[in-house]
Amino acid sequence: MGFSIRATLLTLVALGSGCVTGHLLNTGRRYERPLVYHEALLTEDRLVLRYTAIETNDIGRPTGRHERQVALALADLARDDVPVDAFPVEQLSDHAVVAGRPVALRRGGATAPALCLDLDATPDGRDVGFVLQEDGRRSAPFHSVALTRSRTVPWVYPLLPLSLAADAAIDPVLFLFAPAVIGVGD
C-alpha cells in the first residue's frame, strides 16, 4: 500500500486531532473532583459515598458544583497497589437510594467509632482521602482524586463540523510552516 504526501498530511491532521478541534475539545473539557464527603454507607461488598464535587474547566476555573454518589468495591479498597487513574469506580445515579449500614465520618479529634471513615482533610476543608475502619481493621488509604471525572460539555458537539472544516483548511498550512520554524529556530 502506498502513501502520497497528501495522505501523510491528512493522517498527521487526524492523529493530532486538529488544531481548532483539539482546542475546542480542551475548552469544553470539565473536571470534577470531590470536595467534601457527606454520607457513607456500607453494603455487603461495597462502600457507597455521597459527596459534593467541584467542577473546573481546562484552566482550573470553577464552573459548578455537583452532588455525586459512587460505589467502591471493598476488595479494591483493601488493595494499596491500584493507581489513582485506574481505580474502579461505579457511578450511581445521584438520586438512587441505597440500603446499607451508615458509616460515621470522622475528621480527626473524636474517638473513632467501630465503623467509620477516617477522613484526611486539608485546612481549607477539602477531603483529600480516607481510611475505612471497621472493628479495628483499616483499609488501604484511599485518595479522593481517584474519583476525578472528566467530561465534555454538550455545546461542543454542534461546533465540531465547523471546527473540522476549519482544520481541513488550516492544519495543512500549519504543518507546511512548521518545518520553517524548526529550520530557522535555535
Binding site: A7, D85, A178, V181
Partner: protein
C-alpha cells in the same frame, strides 16, 4: 508493510521517526546531579510585564514595566545555557582566575556546545566553584554573551504549542520527563497556556518526587534565582499544574520537553 512512494512523504516520515525520539544522553558517572542554586544563574530573567495576580479569584492583569527591563525574554536561553554549563562545562576553583576576555571566550564555547546533549569534551571554567558564583561575579559579561530575546522566540520546538495536547499525551509526557530526571538528565520544559497565552515560559526540571496522586517536579525557574518552583503532574486528571508565582496565579498548564531531538 507500508511503503512511502513520494520523496516528500518519505522525508516527513523520516523527520518524524528521528525527531520524535527523545534523546536522553547516556549517564555520565562523573556528572554530579543538577543542584540548586549552585548550577543556576545568580541573576534572573525579568518579565516585560508587571503582573497583578488576585490569589482569591485567580484572575490576572498586566501592564508594561516602566522603565522597560534591561534583561528580559530570555527564559528559554537561561534554562538552556544553565543545562549547557552543567553538562558541557566544569568549574575548577583550584585553578587561578583568568581575565575577562578569556572568560568571555569560555562562556561562548559553552553556549556553542551541544544544546541537546553532552559534548565530547567539557569547557573548564577556572577560578570558580559553580555557575552561581561565576555568574554573580561576571554578570554583565554573561548577560552579553546570552544574546537577545530572539533566542527564546525562535526556540525550535515553539511550533508544538499551537497544536492541542490531549490528556493521554500529557500523561505520556509526564512519564518521559520523570524517566529523564531519573536517568540524571534534567529536561528543559516549555510550560504554557494556549490559545489564550497567560503563561509562555521555559523551566528546567531537575528532581522529581513521586506520590500516589502526583509527580512533583522541582524546577529551576529562570525568573527566580532565589528558589526552585514546583510543577506537579496530577495522575488522575492527567494534567500539569504550575505553582503560583508573581507572574502566574497558579493552575493547570500544558507542558512538553524542549531542546530535545530534531523537532523540539
Amino acid at each position: 508493510m507500508l511503503r512511502f512512494r513520494s520523496t516528500g512523504a518519505r522525508a516527513i516520515a523520516l523527520v518524524l521517526a528521528v525527531g520524535c525520539v527523545a534523546r536522553v544522553p547516556p549517564p555520565d558517572p562523573s556528572q554530579k546531579p543538577f543542584r540548586f542554586p549552585e548550577d543556576v544563574f545568580a541573576f534572573r530573567n525579568e518579565t516585560v510585564w508587571q503582573y497583578d495576580v488576585d490569589p482569591a479569584t485567580g484572575s490576572i492583569a498586566w501592564h508594561e514595566r516602566d522603565p522597560p527591563p534591561a534583561f528580559s525574554l530570555r527564559c528559554a536561553t537561561l534554562a538552556r545555557v544553565a543545562r549547557q554549563f552543567w553538562a558541557n562545562a566544569r568549574f575548577d576553583p583550584d585553578v587561578p582566575a583568568v581575565d575577562a576576555d578569556t572568560y568571555a571566550r569560555l562562556v561562548q564555547d559553552v553556549i556553542d556546545s551541544d544544546r541537546r546533549g553532552r559534548s565530547p569534551t567539557r569547557v573548564v571554567i577556572p577560578g570558580y566553584a559553580d555557575l552561581h558564583s561565576f555568574s554573580a561575579a561576571h554578570e554583565a559579561l554573561v548577560k552579553r554573551a546570552l544574546a537577545g530575546p530572539w533566542q527564546s522566540h525562535m526556540q525550535r520546538g515553539n511550533w508544538r504549542m499551537i497544536f492541542p495536547f490531549r490528556p493521554v499525551q500529557q500523561r505520556d509526557e509526564a512519564e518521559r520527563l520523570r524517566a529523564s530526571v531519573a536517568a540524571g538528565w534534567p529536561p528543559i520544559v516549555h510550560v504554557f497556556r494556549y490559545p489564550r497565552i497567560t503563561l509562555n515560559h521555559f523551566v528546567l526540571f531537575y528532581a522529581v518526587e513521586q506520590t500516589p496522586t502526583e509527580l512533583r517536579f522541582l524546577a529551576y525557574d529562570p525568573n527566580d534565582a532565589e528558589q526552585p518552583i514546583v510543577v506537579s503532574y496530577d495522575r488522575a486528571a492527567r494534567a500539569f499544574d504550575y505553582a503560583a508565582t508573581p507572574y502566574f496565579p497558579g493552575g493547570p498548564v500544558k507542558a512538553y520537553e524542549a531542546y530535545d531531538g530534531l523537532l523540539y
